[in-house]
């Protein structure tokens, strides 16, 4: 004997799923002004639907209550009219979805950008070879040994940044410089916890010195607009600008040593 519910279980299920869907959109698109990408929302909803269906069906009574109305719709002769309406609407909805998702558009296809290139173990810059596994920032030691000098080096790095980098990466290092909107992929946001905070200084040195053309052959084609900075900056200037990037954002470079 199942108890009479104010809202039938099937309707409850539908309302929860629709409610969660619109909550995501309201939260991100409206309240936070950072849209939730369609690809991510689809994945989120897949698990929300799975989780909700699991909760609604783990008991036999729950499963029967959920499936009951669907069974009745298909089998009950008194529901002929409703059945016919549903059997027309469902294929129409499926057809509409298929049409809208298959209809050609002028938008470029989505790219699975591998934004995170794997560094080589060795690379050439400034006419010499660098081993990325052992390469260290020569100025990093002054952070402890001579803080005043370190501060001066960071300041010099800041000057290099403002003269050369901020046009794309922004004066707040958030990847939102004056030229940023003209670039795709957009310049890296150094404030993001997932960018320079995840990397060793040697990685940054390689990326800055060799720029877009220095990116590895694997996972090509790269479409990075990053200039080859070894043609415009000295080795010391690159190391100093790296100090500045970490100092300004308050991040620490990736390291395997305890500090």
């Amino acid at each position: 004997m199942t108890k009479k519910r104010l809202i039938p279980r099937l309707l409850q299920l539908a309302l929860i799923i629709i409610g969660v869907y619109f909550s995501f959109i309201l939260l991100f698109d409206v309240a936070l002004h950072q849209i939730i990408p369609k690809s991510l929302l689809t994945m989120y909803m897949l698990f929300v639907v799975a989780g909700t269906v699991m909760v609604f069906t783990f008991t036999e009574e729950g499963a029967q209550e959920l499936v009951g109305p669907i069974k009745a719709l298909v089998e009950d002769p008194s529901k002929k009219m409703l059945r016919n309406i549903v059997f027309v609407i469902v294929p129409l909805l499926a057809g509409y979805y298929t049409y809208t998702s298959m209809m050609p558009s002028f938008e470029a296809p989505m790219e699975l950008r591998t934004i995170h290139p794997a560094p080589p173990s060795k690379f050439k810059a400034f006419g010499k070879s660098y081993n990325l596994t052992t390469l260290e920032n020569p100025f990093r030691k002054f952070e402890k040994e001579d803080p005043a000098k370190f501060k001066e080096l960071v300041k010099e790095g800041g000057n290099v940044y403002i003269k050369n980098c901020q046009y794309c990466h922004g004066d707040k290092l958030d990847g939102n410089g004056p030229y940023a909107s003209g670039l795709n992929p957009t310049p890296l946001n150094f404030q993001d916890v997932g960018t320079i905070a995840q990397l060793q200084e040697s990685f940054l040195f390689w990326r800055i010195a060799t720029g877009g053309p220095g990116l590895p052959a694997e996972a090509a084609p790269w479409i990075s607009a990053m200039p080859v900075w070894q043609d415009y900056l000295t080795e010391d200037e690159i190391w100093k600008v790296i100090l500045y990037l970490y100092d300004y954002t308050g991040r620490r470079p990736r390291s395997w040593a305890n500090e």
Binding site: F28, L32, Q34, I35, I36, P37, K38, S39, L40, M43, L46, F47, V48, A50, G51, M54, V55, T57, F58, T59, E60, A63, E107, M110, L112, R113, T114, I115, H116, P117, A118, P119, S121, L132, T133, G175, A180, S181, N184, P185, T186, P187, N189, D192, V193, G194, T195, Q198, Q200, F203, E218, A219, R252, P253, R254, S255, W256, A257, N258, E259
Partner: protein, 620 residues
């Protein structure tokens, strides 16, 4: 007669033990290479080279450098793609191998439980599991043979190069395989013969030997694979200058060993769970349903128990991979293979959800479960929320309009979920709440009778609350506001917190429910059919997951046969597109599942006996 049998068993046992002890004879003495574990392959090669130079050995074998091949050096067979052929055969061999290595592990434990409790049901279940694995054992051997032929046929120079370095261990592998087969057949065919008293102990010893041989075989094969990823004792030209043990004990050997042993148990549990589901659904009567429901419950328990430590074993392996080579690490998780990890996250989600769903459905076996049913939705909310964090990628898949709107490929708010500290926190929540599901299941039909039950519950609630707060604090503070070294290190206390919750809670629960009152008898077999499909989903997800991750592990070598020293010059020396790779793995999964169904079907016909009336001549 008995004495004679015991003597034969004794001789076989001694031979088997001797075979095990012979193994080190093929492996020269261990060195201190582990202490000087390389941060990169060349470093390891340098140290080994220096050592060889310092101690000249008149009998030392000189090894050739890694061959510099051209496309013409790779034989072809019309209509066969060598990479796909080797890929599929190797993967099928690994799936079957993982199953046949895993099953004896828990069969040994179940048999021991049966001996300790003198409950014959355990013994019957253990026998049934080993019966399923025996057909799979033949298939594993067939696939292993096919793999060897395929490698020799399509990649002769690669095989020759590796065989020269690993000749001793390959020979030992072949001998051990014979020993394992002998022990397996005695273990299986002697099951009903070696029953009772000392005989049962002898049988159990064979089970132990079977596990020792099986695991040793796997460890040897792992060393060949990991050598291709992190070669040890080789110079830049690929000249091997170490000994067998150094080649075996390469940088990634132990991380892979640990990961594979744990994963195999979980995988084996899931496959026998699917077997139980298959038998449950095809059961003809109530007793059969009850039996296979019980078997399925135990198999699911094994799968979950091994699944709990698996994320940590995986994390350790990945951390070691990063430590070995930043390039390999980034290619793996930040580069071209990163999207496979998103699929991995979804499949792990499917694993946890199906395991939990099975437990929740299982509460229907008890009439006392209604008390806990309203709480299940909260567990589900936490599990789903943890998954959303678990599979949120750092670099998003965006349309151009979304990219413009967000101002870059990283999301300002969701981006924080894209890195490891968030994933670690989420996975610890997943494990803790999965354990909570299990606790509810265990308690469903019982009422504690001890006087301190209320205090015990309060302690457990406090333990879970404090533990979860600790996990979040460690994840957020150390994950986002400190140096990377602390970020990686914080995962260890997070894991320890989860383990503390699980172990302490289990101890309290065991004491609290000692002599507890049953609400009503458990109704084994009172399970809906859909719960059995959760068991199938568990097995399929595991298989697919292993295929995907196996591809990634192998694929991060990219255009190298042996990373950094032996270049792949075949026409297939490129990383295929993700879609292509996923299709091959899916085809492999379908073939494997067809083989598994075949094995299950064989187990059903083996018990059938048709009386062919009038066919046989009447004997006087």
């Amino acid at each position: 007669m008995l004495k004679r049998n015991i003597r034969i068993i004794g001789v076989v046992f001694l031979l088997a033990i001797s075979a095990m002890f012979m193994l080190p004879a093929f492996m020269p003495a261990a060195s201190a290479s582990e202490a000087a574990a390389p941060t990169a392959a060349p470093a390891a090669a340098d140290s080994a080279a220096a050592k060889t130079a310092a101690v000249p050995d008149a009998n030392a074998v000189t090894y050739p450098p890694a061959p510099k091949l051209t496309a013409a050096d790779y034989p072809t067979v019309s209509g066969v793609n060598p990479r796909v052929a080797v890929w599929l055969v190797a993967q099928l061999h690994l799936w079957l191998g993982a199953f046949v290595v895993a099953v004896p592990m828990f069969v040994f434990i179940i048999e021991s439980i049966g001996m300790a409790t003198r409950d014959e049901r355990y013994d019957n279940m253990a026998y049934e599991f080993i019966k399923v694995s025996i057909t799979a054992y033949s298939l594993t051997a067939i696939m292993g043979g096919l793999l060897s032929f395929s490698l020799i046929l399509f990649y002769p120079d690669v095989f020759k190069y590796l065989a020269l370095i690993f000749k001793e261990s390959m020979f030992a592998y072949a001998l051990l395989f014979f020993a394992e087969s002998a022990v397996l057949y005695i273990y299986y065919y002697g099951w009903h013969w070696l029953q009772g008293g000392n005989r049962k102990w002898i049988h159990l010893t064979f089970g132990l030997l079977l596990n020792a041989f099986g695991i040793t075989l796997m460890l040897l094969a792992n060393s060949w694979t990991t050598f291709m990823m992190s070669p040890a004792a080789v110079d830049a030209a690929g000249v091997f200058n170490g000994n067998t043990w150094e080649a075996i004990h390469n940088f990634l050997w132990n991380p892979i060993n640990i990961h594979r042993v744990v994963a195999n148990v979980a995988y084996g549990g899931s496959i026998v769970g699917a077997y139980a589901g298959f038998k449950f659904l095809s059961a003809k009567n109530k007793e059969e349903r009850a039996h296979y429901d019980w078997v399925g419950y135990n198999a699911n328990f094994i799968a979950i128990a091994a699944l709990l430590p698996l994320p940590f074993a995986g994390y350790y392996l990945t951390a070691e991979l990063y430590a070995y080579s930043q390039q390999m690490g980034i290619t793996l998780m930040g580069g071209v293979f990163a999207w496979i990890f998103i699929i991995q996250a979804v499949l792990i989600g499917a694993l946890f959800l199906s395991a939990n769903y099975y437990l929740w459905c299982g509460m229907g076996r008890s009439d006392g479960a209604n008390r806990y049913n309203p709480r299940i939705k909260y567990i589900a909310i936490v599990l789903v929320a943890a998954f959303l964090v678990w599979f949120t990628p750092h670099t998003l898949v965006l349309t151009n309009s979304e990219l413009k709107s967000l101002g870059g490929p990283y999301h300002k708010y969701l981006g924080v979920f894209g890195i490891m500290p968030a994933k670690n926190t989420a996975v610890n929540f997943l494990l803790t709440f999965t354990f909570m599901s299990f606790m509810f299941y265990r308690r469903a039909n019982k009422i504690a009778t001890v006087s301190w039950a209320t205090t015990g519950n309060a302690i457990q609630i406090a333990l879970f609350t404090m533990g979860l707060i600790n996990i979040v604090t460690l994840g957020v503070y150390y994950g986002y506001f400190t140096n990377t070294v602390y970020k990686v290190a914080a995962s260890i206390p997070q894991v320890l917190t989860t383990l503390t919750i699980i172990i302490t809670s289990t101890i309290i629960d065991t004491l609290m429910y000692k002599g507890a009152k049953d609400v009503a008898p458990l109704h084994w077999g009172r399970m809906p059919a859909r719960s059995q499909y959760a068991l199938f989903l568990l097995a399929v997800s595991f298989t697919w997951l292993m295929g995907l991750m196996g591809y990634v592990r192998s694929g991060i070598r990219q255009h190298w046969h042996v990373s950094g020293i032996f270049r792949d010059a075949s026409p297939d020396a490129y990383t295929p597109t993700l879609g292509y790779a996923a299709n091959i793995i899916t085809i492999g999964t379908i073939i494997f599942m067809a083989m598994v169904i075949f094995v299950f079907w064989l187990s059903t016909i083996s018990g059938k006996h048709v009386v062919a009336k009038g066919y046989w001549k009447e004997q006087a």
